[in-house]
Amino acid sequence: MSSAATPAAVDTVMGAVALSERPRSLWRDAMARLHTRKLNYVYASVLAIYALVAIIAFTPLLGKSVFDAQVGAQYAPPAFTGTVEQGTANEHSTIRPSLWLGTDIAGRSVLYKLLYGTRVALTVSLLASILSVVIGTVLGLLAGYYRGWVDALITWLYTTINSIPWILLMVALAYALKDREFKMFGQEFKLVGIPSIVMALGLTSWVGLCRLMRGEVLKHRERDYVAAAKAVGAGTSRIIFRHILPNTFHLVIIDFTLGIVSFVQAEVILSFLGLGVKDQPSWGVMIDDAKLELMRNVWWQFAGATAAIFGLSICLNFLGDALRDALDPRLRGVD
């Protein structure tokens, strides 16, 4: 016990313990630790750029009319400049960002498609990550806190799901959910594109977090601060959400961050299997399309989409690592 070693003199009534200038919550400590590595700011800014592009893609600035417009010849290779107003007297060459990454089969700008794809990638992975994290957290909390048959049921559920190889389950679910119509609350719903992918990814990926949460909650519910909260008459929901959840929340954050990476990658697999997004460009679809284009040595769409995924994944990975180091006390002191 470290407190036992505290010099007695320090523990006076006046509390002369050397306290820092500002109160240090564990979150603040974590932020401070993140702050010490300046590279983290690089990752964060790149992520911010991705997010910004995704947000712009929701506006008409990068809407369907932009990525869908024909900007050049079929499969024009990347070029810095291009001719505008062809065939008119005003024909001249100028810098054309739309041609920087070449064009696709329909003469559309690969760069614009790529930028728009950020929206799809981030939407899919954020929503799927939220879905998976919410399910995992809630079930983990319930199982760990209530124990008994609730725990038995949830443990059974996740052991079962865990026994089905993830890729099989995800593919089966994506296949089954694709374009399905169902009735709920007297209304017809149709799962097209993003919702069905989000569900397939989210519903199959919560097990890891749930198991982790359950273990942590089991540990925390035996801690004295929970007993103290009970003793002062705090209700179950207060104990779970004010006490246990904040103490396990770092797991959620780490899982959320790393979840996004795996979902961006999973979207490529689903696109390959024809279960991906349609009607709008996504990185997975672009890589899938590239399989044919490479027969003609059209590499730009492939390279662009791969690079986009690479950039996003690497920032999230490094930031996720940094977050894990900063938040997970178990790993503290290792790095």
């Binding site: 089969i105 024809g274 349609k278 399989k291 044919l292 490479l294 027969m295 003609r296």
Partner: protein, 596 residues
């Protein structure tokens, strides 16, 4: 303590050995065999049992293993019937109801495994073998799609009914006669029809009509589809298509040397078929890897993958300079097929609004479509009758097959009027795939239709789901489909508009019903080829063109790339067993691809 370290090092040694083993395996890689033809297959095959075959990939392979009474000449265009197992074209009675066919003598079944007949050479092919095979085609229990070819035969329905009623397949009495099929002697078959069916002779050149040995089928039962026993120029040597990998065909040693040759007749060595000792088919599912393999010169020709039309070819029909340098040549042939977008005529919106259909047909820019997706490898369709057919007229005037935006907009006004003045609601286009090409095509049509104010909701699905919606539930509103003709006779395509073919799973998938068309169709159906019949066909096409149950996309053009060492390669339809004509210039192949 120490043990752990040794386990680790031991394990590393195993890994090292593994890597070395794999590296060593490269030493023993054998080159391509000079007497084997190597063909890449990108689609999978379903069966090698002729009765079950309805897909082109399967019939291309099975066509080398079986022969029919008739075949088409490999080299001649338009297609010309030749007699293969028959001695001559059938003798047809005056009323067109009775066919008499004589068989070549001395042709034997060949059993490459020697499992049915230890000596491998089977019994002589006789009339009963044909009748047995035809009964199988009509067997309810076989998942066969070819029963329709014998619809006109007397007793065919009864036989089908009988097989359906016999719940236990093994209880079927194969000796039970069908009135329409009669073996007057071992070498003569008489076929009786309920009504004239002039296409019967084509049906007898169709692979499902190939003779089958009952002994072989009894021996292999359900596995018949993997153990073909036929009379063709090749025999199956190694079949691993279940592993999706390769099928090896070997020369049939008792083959008589050519389709038109009688057994025992000597054939000059240079004319003798098959030319190559072996054919190896290698199966791939993805397009990119086999393309690379072909580019390495390991396949002798490469039918350009159906989803990658035009990828290999720069524009139109011109090869990329790289390919030209390597001595690759392009082979092309128009296909007797059509691709179209079908309207569901039972749909309350598109089915009841002819003006809407006509407007949509005129708003569809086919030339641009063909240029974009087919690289010009297709023709703008003028009607359902496809190129190569006697009544095909490429200069036919069909206003609804031409892109005309003004006229389309004009028609749209009418369409809105028909719709009660309401704007046209969103129309759902169903596409049987979701890969790149389908997505891009969907986009294209969507944009075309948007020009006349029709909003399309494009729905991509898999083939099974597609069929379910189009043919079973009939819920599809607007969908993409194609038709490959079975024989060069217009009836084969016009049957898709006959109202009697509207049924669950029936051929008339657009559910088109037109009394006048039906009358003409039923009239022409029983006629033999004649100027009058051609006239009827033209009239029927005009009716369909006016009604627009289809929005034609294109008549496809078949393309393939071949290496310079491959000889006698032609793209064909209908013909079976044509691969026996292919030959390799061994010297050239040995030299490999020109570097540069």
């Amino acid at each position: 303590m120490r043990k752990v370290k040794w386990i680790f090092f031991g394990y590393l040694a195993v890994v090292g050995a593994l890597v070395v083993g794999i590296a060593l395996s490269f030493a023993s890689v054998s080159a391509r065999d000079p007497d084997t033809l190597y063909i890449v297959y990108i689609s999978d095959i379903k069966s090698l049992d002729p009765a079950e075959i309805s897909d082109v990939p399967s019939s291309r392979i099975a066509g080398n293993l079986f022969e029919c009474l008739y075949n088409y000449d490999y080299y001649k265009r338009p297609y010309e019937l030749i007699s293969e197992l028959a001695t001559a074209l059938p003798e047809i009675s005056k009323d067109g109801l009775e066919y008499t066919i004589h068989l070549r003598k001395g042709i034997h079944f060949y059993d490459p495994d020697g499992a049915v007949w230890p000596g491998k050479t089977g019994p002589e092919v006789k009339a009963k073998d044909f009748i047995y095979a035809w009964k199988r085609v009509l067997d309810f229990h076989l998942p066969n799609p070819n029963a329709a070819i014998f619809d006109a035969v007397v007793g065919a329905d009864e036989w089908q009914k009988y097989t359906e009623d016999t719940k236990d397949e093994s209880k079927i009495d194969w000796d039970r006669p069908i009135a329409g099929f009669e073996a007057t002697d071992d070498y003569t078959i008489r076929i009786k029809l309920k009504e004239p069916f002039p296409q019967l002779v084509y049906a007898l050149a169709h692979l499902p009509s190939a003779p089958m040995s009952r002994e072989a089928v009894d021996k292999y039962k359900k596995k018949t589809r993997q153990h073909p026993v036929g009379t063709g120029p090749y025999s199956l040597s190694y079949n691993d298509h279940l592993q999706q990998q390769r099928i090896l065909l070997k020369r049939n040693p008792i083959y008589r040397g050519g389709p038109m040759v009688d057994p025992g007749t000597p054939v000059a060595a240079k004319d003798r078929l098959p030319k190559m000792d072996r054919i190896q088919f290698e199966f791939f599912e993805e397009d990119l890897p086999p393309w690379y393999v072909f580019r390495e010169g390991l396949f002798d020709y490469h039918g350009i993958p159906k989803d990658a039309y035009g990828q290999a070819i720069r524009t139109g029909t011109e090869l990329t300079p790289e390919l030209v340098k390597q001595g690759v040549t392009l082979v092309k042939e128009p296909e007797p097929s059509i691709y179209y977008y079908g309207f569901n005529m039972q749909d309350p919106l598109v089915g009841k609004n002819k003006s809407l259909r006509q407007a949509m047909c005129m708003a569809f820019n086919r030339d641009q479509f063909i240029a974009t997706f087919r690289n010009g490898r297709g023709m703008r369709p003028v009607g359902p009758i496809v190129p190569g057919f006697p009544t095909f007229d490429p200069n036919l005037k069909n206003p609804y097959a031409e892109f005309n935006l003004e006229a389309a907009l004009e028609k749209m006004k009418e369409a809105v009027r028909v719709n009660g003045g309401e704007p046209i609601p969103t129309i759902r286009l169903l596409l049987p795939g979701s890969d790149t090409t389908f997505r891009q095509m969907g986009d294209f049509v969507q944009r075309n239709m948007a020009q006349i104010g029709v909003t399309l909701d494009v729905d991509y699905t898999n083939w099974a789901n597609f069929l379910e919606q189009v043919e079973k539930k009939k819920t599809a509103q607007f969908y993409q489909l194609g038709w490959n003709t079975d024989w060069p006779d217009e009836q084969n395509i016009l049957q898709l508009f006959w109202s009697k073919n509207i049924s669950e799973g029936g051929l008339n998938s657009s559910n088109y019903a037109n009394a006048e068309f039906d009358k003409l169709y039923e009239q022409a159906k029983v006629m033999s080829d004649s100027p009058e019949r051609r006239e009827l066909y033209k009239k029927m096409q005009a009716i369909v063109n006016e009604d627009c149950p289809w929005m034609g996309m294109f008549y496809p053009m078949d393309f393939a790339l071949q290496h310079r060492w491959l000889k006698n390669f032609k793209l064909v339809d209908y013909v079976h067993g044509w691969m026996a004509n292919l030959e390799i210039d061994k010297e050239l192949r040995k030299q490999g691809l020109p570097r540069g």
